[in-house]
Amino acid sequence: MEQQIYGDDIEVGISIPLFERKTDLMNWNRWAATYDEFVPYHMDDEGAKSNGQNSVIGQGRIRVSYLHTMLRNWIGEQGFILEVDVQMRGINYKNDTLTCNGTVTSKTPTENNSFLLELDISITNQNGVVITPGTARVRIPANP
C-alpha cells in the first residue's frame, strides 16, 4: 500500500515535499517518445538555434507533468488532482535542475468525507528563477 495522507492532518501554510529533476535528453527524449513531441528545438542545439534559442530546450509539457507528479507523490493513491493552472514564464535548458514546490493555501471539508485543498505551485531553476508559476486544487480523503 502506498503512503496516504488525510485531510484532517493537513494545515494551511505547509509546504509539500519537493520534486526535483536535473533535465537533459534522457528525460526529454523519453517524454517526446510517449507524448509524440518531436520538435527540432527539443532535439538538439541546431534545431534550437534555427528557432532563435541558444541551445536545446525542454518541453513545456514535461514541466506540467513534473508538477502533477509532485502533487500525486504527496496526495497518495486515494487523492485526486482536480485542477492544475500553470504559465510558462521561462526556458528550461539542458542540465538545468528544476525544483517543483507547493504550499497549501486553503482547506475545505466536503460532503463526501474528503477535503478540498488549494495550493500555490511553481517550478524554480537552479538559479532561483521561477520559470513556471501556478496553482492547483486536489481532493484527499478525511481520516478513516
Binding site: Y35, V39, R61, V64, H68, Q78, E83, M88
Partner: protein, 186 residues
C-alpha cells in the same frame, strides 16, 4: 472601439491580428477520437513521467491495481492518448513550424487562427479533471477557439490565442477540460 478599428487608426504599428482571426474565435473543431488506450500506453507514459524512478504500481501492475480504490489500472491524468495517431493530428503539443501536411491537418480542425505566424510556443494551460482514463478507453477531443490577442514581446509582436479542449470517453463521461495559451510570432 473594436480591435480592428484600433488597428486601422494606427497604420504605422505592426499588427498580427486580422478580421479573419477574430472571426475564428468561437469556432469548434471536428471531433478527434483516440485509438483504444492500452496498458502499455499507460506504463510507457508513466515511466517517462517518473523516470528515473519506478512509477507507482497503479500504472503498471494490474494485480496490485485491482485492490486499490480505483479497482484497476488508471492513467496519469496528463497522459496524451492521441500520441502516435496515424496522420499526426495534433491536439496538444505542436511543431514549431508547420509544413504543408501539418497545415492541412490543423486547418481542417481549425486549431490555429487563420494566417497566424509560423513560430509556436506553448504558453501554459489550465486543466480541470473529472474522471481518470483507463485501459480500453477511447477519448474524443473537441476544441473551441476562445480568444485571440497580441502583445509586444522580446521577439517583436506576438500573437496569443486560447483554446478550450474537452475530452470525453466512449461513455460520454467528461475526462478533462483544458484551456491552453498558445503563442506565435514571425
Amino acid at each position: 472601439m473594436t480591435i480592428m478599428d484600433n488597428i486601422r487608426n494606427n497604420p504605422d504599428e505592426t499588427h498580427l491580428i486580422t478580421q479573419e482571426m477574430l472571426d475564428w474565435v468561437g469556432s469548434r473543431s471536428l471531433p478527434l477520437t483516440s485509438p483504444d488506450i492500452s496498458e502499455s500506453d499507460i506504463r510507457r507514459a508513466a515511466i517517462a513521467m517518473y523516470w528515473p524512478e519506478v512509477p507507482p504500481r497503479i500504472y503498471w501492475d494490474s494485480n496490485y491495481a485491482i485492490e486499490t480504490v480505483w479497482k484497476g489500472i488508471v492513467a496519469p491524468a496528463e497522459m496524451n492518448p492521441f500520441s502516435w495517431i496515424v496522420g499526426r493530428a495534433h491536439i496538444g503539443p505542436q511543431p514549431n513550424r508547420i509544413n504543408s501536411d501539418q497545415n492541412t491537418i490543423e486547418e481542417s480542425r481549425q486549431l490555429r487562427p487563420p494566417g497566424a505566424p509560423k513560430n509556436y510556443l506553448f504558453g501554459g494551460l489550465k486543466s480541470s479533471y473529472y474522471s481518470l482514463m483507463r485501459p480500453g478507453d477511447k477519448i474524443t477531443s473537441i476544441i473551441t477557439s476562445t480568444d485571440v490577442y497580441e502583445k509586444k514581446g522580446s521577439t517583436g509582436q506576438m500573437l496569443f490565442y486560447l483554446t478550450n479542449e474537452i475530452w470525453t470517453n466512449q461513455n460520454n463521461k467528461t475526462i478533462k477540460e483544458t484551456v491552453t495559451t498558445n503563442i506565435q510570432w514571425e
